[in-house]
Subunit: 225 residues, 2 copies
């Protein structure tokens, strides 16, 4: 059992080292040697868990769709906003997320490994369907379409924010985006009840295991802060 | 004079060959030899116009901000929508535009050459300011912020559309995005007067010089269809 826990931990350490290296240099330029050096594990340990660099890339992508930290709320649209706000707060802190996005944006890695976008769009569409069933969403809203637009626009804000001069914080920009998009989707009674702000993103994050560990000055094993 | 025209034409041919190659293989992987082969010009001709591969990349980026084809309209918000719709229709047809976007999205080329995003965001903000002065836009709208969001979300739709399974046409997706964003920005009297559709994008394009040449079955010299 202890041995199994150690194996899970080692796998996670390797995956995070791979993510951090992909994120810095891009998948193509990364070598296995760099990942070994960063993870501080032996070649044998790495190949025990992953058969190739491509296998590591697939592992990083699989870890990138997560709504962890989003808590049940009376309004489904608030849960939707929370998922997107939390992702914005976590992405600059977690190489696993930014590496996955970088690989999705790069045409070469995208062609080879696919992306997490279809899954994310489905998560959004499901929340919109639940929200509509509760009367939170305008009747003419197409949930699939709006779900796809939220994921697309979120991605664009992340990509463009990096490329603009001036310091735009991602959670602040994502909050601005969501306020615009949800104004076109929420019913007039629901809209003013939504809290969409960078401050909420920070509060949600502080309540996740990683956030609590960060606040306590330590980082739980195997989770990159 | 004839000689000067030929020089301008040659420069354009080389720039478009560079754009098409950057677009296909990425800036880093492209060699000058490939550009020469595609442009069917001599090395001497290329270096007469451009000092390096980097110089070609800068030329491509400089050609990527254009509101050509947008005609004056009674509603400034329609002009804004038209600029974004037309860009969506042109981008899959013009390697100059898609290469510029690909270079902006790639962190390495972005760091080296910058992007056209700040200029595009400024074009959008200017149109929003004019629209607000005419009472087309809700009073609480922040023109800089919404301009930035339009450019960001547009970029995201382009990037994600390429990565999603299924055939989403860019003008159609951009029309869906603009309908959402402008619903949060336009005054109730103006919103129903806006025409935001892929069909409008096609009509606007058909009225540009490139579009007219395409319809007539020929392509004007130096313009990639």
């Amino acid at each position: 059992m202890v041995q199994q826990e150690r194996a899970i931990r080692t796998r996670r350490v390797i995956l995070e080292a791979a993510a951090a290296t992909f994120d810095e240099h891009g998948y193509e330029s990364t070598t296995i040697a760099e990942i070994l050096e960063r993870a501080e594990v032996t070649k044998g340990a790495l190949y025990f868990h992953f058969s190739s660099k491509g296998d590591l890339a697939r592992g990083v992508l699989a870890a990138a769709v997560t709504t962890g930290g989003v808590r049940p709320h009376a309004l489904k649209l608030q849960e939707l906003a929370d998922a997107m706000l939390l992702l914005a707060f976590r992405l600059p802190r977690e190489p696993m997320l930014s590496a996955a996005l970088r690989m999705a944006v790069d045409p070469r890695t995208r062609r080879r490994f696919g992306t997490a976008w279809p899954e994310w769009a489905e998560v959004m569409a499901d929340l919109l369907r639940e929200a509509k069933a509760r009367g939170e969403v305008l009747a003419h809203t197409d949930e699939e379409e709006v779900g796809r637009m939220i994921v697309s626009a979120w991605t664009g804000v992340r990509v463009v924010t990096e490329g603009l001069p001036g310091a735009y914080d991602l959670p602040g920009e994502i909050a601005r985006l969501l306020r615009l998009l949800l104004a076109a989707v929420a019913t007039p009674a629901v809209l003013p009840r939504l809290e969409i702000s960078a401050a909420r993103a920070a509060r949600l994050y502080a309540d996740t295991p990683t956030g609590r560990a960060e606040a306590a000055g330590s980082v739980p094993c195997g989770i990159t802060a």
